[in-house]
Symmetry: C2
Subunit: 192 residues, 2 copies
């Protein structure tokens, strides 16, 4: 049997339009208020198309929330710069792709979304922490990863979701200047 190659379908444009509209709506409204009808209207097609291509609403969310953090190669940066590099990277990533906001909004109220966030933490962030932290035990690296996640997520919630005025107004460099030492310490300091 031949491995099924891409096999471009004629409906690829529609599928993509649905996905874009879905990410928009999930990011803006969260899971429950992002209705299939609204998403279909944004994509310029009929609601039943969404069902045909993604099965049901959960399937649509699963497809729309696939996400690659594109973590930088920490082996290539000086150990004392890793905090600043990571914070900068996360802020950029958050601002260029609303899928992260969608993921956060949905993860907080929906079990499927929460599971998706857990898997991103474990599969994409934890390895970076394990690569850079001084501990030999992997369990400790997972704790360090979650500490980093807590600070990054908290700033994202404050700045992009709840829009606390001082957080939303702070220039990006200032956020980096404050958070970088925190992340740096969570990753490289000796455990307290």
């Amino acid at each position: 049997m031949t491995a099924t190659p891409p096999a471009p379908r004629r409906s690829d444009a529609t599928r993509a339009a649905i996905l874009i509209a879905a990410r928009d709506r999930f990011a803006a409204d969260g899971y429950e208020r992002a209705t299939i009808r609204a998403i279909a209207r944004d994509a310029g097609i009929d609601p039943s198309m969404v069902m045909r291509y993604y099965g049901n609403k959960e399937g649509l969310f699963a497809a729309a929330s696939e996400f690659d953090l594109r973590m930088p190669d920490v082996a290539a940066v000086a150990t004392e710069d890793v905090g600043a590099v990571l914070v900068t990277h996360f802020l950029e990533r958050w601002e260029e792709d609303e899928a992260l906001t969608a993921l956060l909004r949905v993860g907080v109220t929906n079990p499927v979304g929460a599971e998706r966030m857990r898997s991103i933490l474990q599969r994409q962030l934890a390895p970076v922490a394990a690569a850079v932290c001084p501990d030999p035990e992997p369990g400790r690296a997972a704790e360090r990863a979650v500490l980093v996640a807590s600070q990054i997520l908290g700033m994202a919630v404050s700045r992009y979701v709840l829009r606390f005025p001082p957080a939303a107004a702070m220039p990006r460099e200032e956020v980096v200047a404050w958070l970088a030492p925190t992340v740096q310490r969570y990753l490289t300091a000796v455990a307290p």
Copy 2:
């Protein structure tokens, strides 16, 4: 005119039961999935009672999400302990009262909830930051408050809402040991 005194009504027990059930449901399900019917069922009364006493769903949420952080008196603690005291206080507050989780879950998807969180930050956390931080300018104190909020909120999301396994499993003292220096620095270090 005499200032209206408590004037205890016969329905106070029902009102309280509704509020308790509402906080439960909002904390567990978020705003949209916490239905008035479910809340009324939990409280053992008819859904129309909720409307009579709180007007509509938004009014119910407004009543259920009134919240006092009960911030400790920072003037009474040594300056170098303020980080540990605050982190400990927040973790306790979060674990003893699910209204905070409700507030967070709703604030992320609902404009009214977000506004409620902003006002709590401004009215309850910001003054504490202003009292303890070294800057003379109040604008800077607001930034410091929001930095503290970001770390506390982020840990709360990771630990109590998304339940990242390493965060949920960490004993409270360990969380304090890691976060206290961060909060301490946000409040008292010279601005970067």
